[in-house]
Subunit: 110 residues, 2 copies
DNA sequence: ATATCGTACAACCAAATGGTTGTAGATCAG
DNA sequence: CTGATCTACAACCATTTGGTTGTACGATAT
């Protein structure tokens, strides 16, 4: 029963997207409030185009969505990507738990 | 009460390390069993040096440890890095929960 | 109507990434 | 001792990444 087998490419995109401090900050901001792309750009010491690229990376990773409103593009947090990332890490955690159990079993046999 | 404020650089290293399928596979393998660097290298269609670099990336991110045993270097999973990554994602999840609560409050006022 | 604003996108650049081969030092086996 | 094995690391290369500036275009305000 594979609920949602994340493709390797999807996992790549997710973690890659998280691997940048500016992008992590954007995710936090747009989860709490609403920001246009230029609204976000005003927050960082880099060009509008650079921020635009960061948003695009986050969008491809399903960590934010964009919605056109007038001439602005509103960026919002997308729970989907975060959930996928967490589920991924949970799998690694599960492997650790299994390992611990296995060792406990071996010790119990002694 | 900041328990373990992850530096941005640390977070970068962690997620960057996870952002590669080969490295994620290495993490899984060495969590379950013991592998030397060359033992790992035998598993992938790339050079020993390439695998060695992947292991180095994982080590810098605290996702694996290396221990010298004779002429071999044994690679083992390191729970520390994984825990840090999970804690990080948990913070983002917490922001989401706060957002949901805030919206619920607003609705309750109406 | 015109100027301004917000966005998209192309072209470019430097640095980082993910791979290679080659060399050299330890350690182990015969 | 000699040869094979495991590791480390340097040098190199192609591609990607993270930034820049410049151009174009739809939406808004005056």
């Amino acid at each position: 029963m594979v609920v949602d087998q994340l493709s390797e490419a999807e996992a790549d995109r997710l973690f890659q997207a998280f691997a940048d401090a500016t992008r992590r900050d954007i995710v936090r901001r747009v989860t709490v409030g609403e920001y246009s792309v230029s609204g976000l750009a005003a927050l960082y010491a880099m060009s509008f185009a650079a921020v635009q690229k960061h948003v695009a990376v986050l969008e491809r990773a399903s960590l934010v969505t964009k919605e056109k409103r007038g001439r602005e593009q509103i960026v919002r947090g997308n729970h989907e990507g975060l959930q996928k990332a967490r589920r991924l890490l949970d799998e690694y955690e599960a492997i650790w738990r299994q390992r611990v159990e296995r060792i406990a079993d071996i010790l119990a046999e002694a």
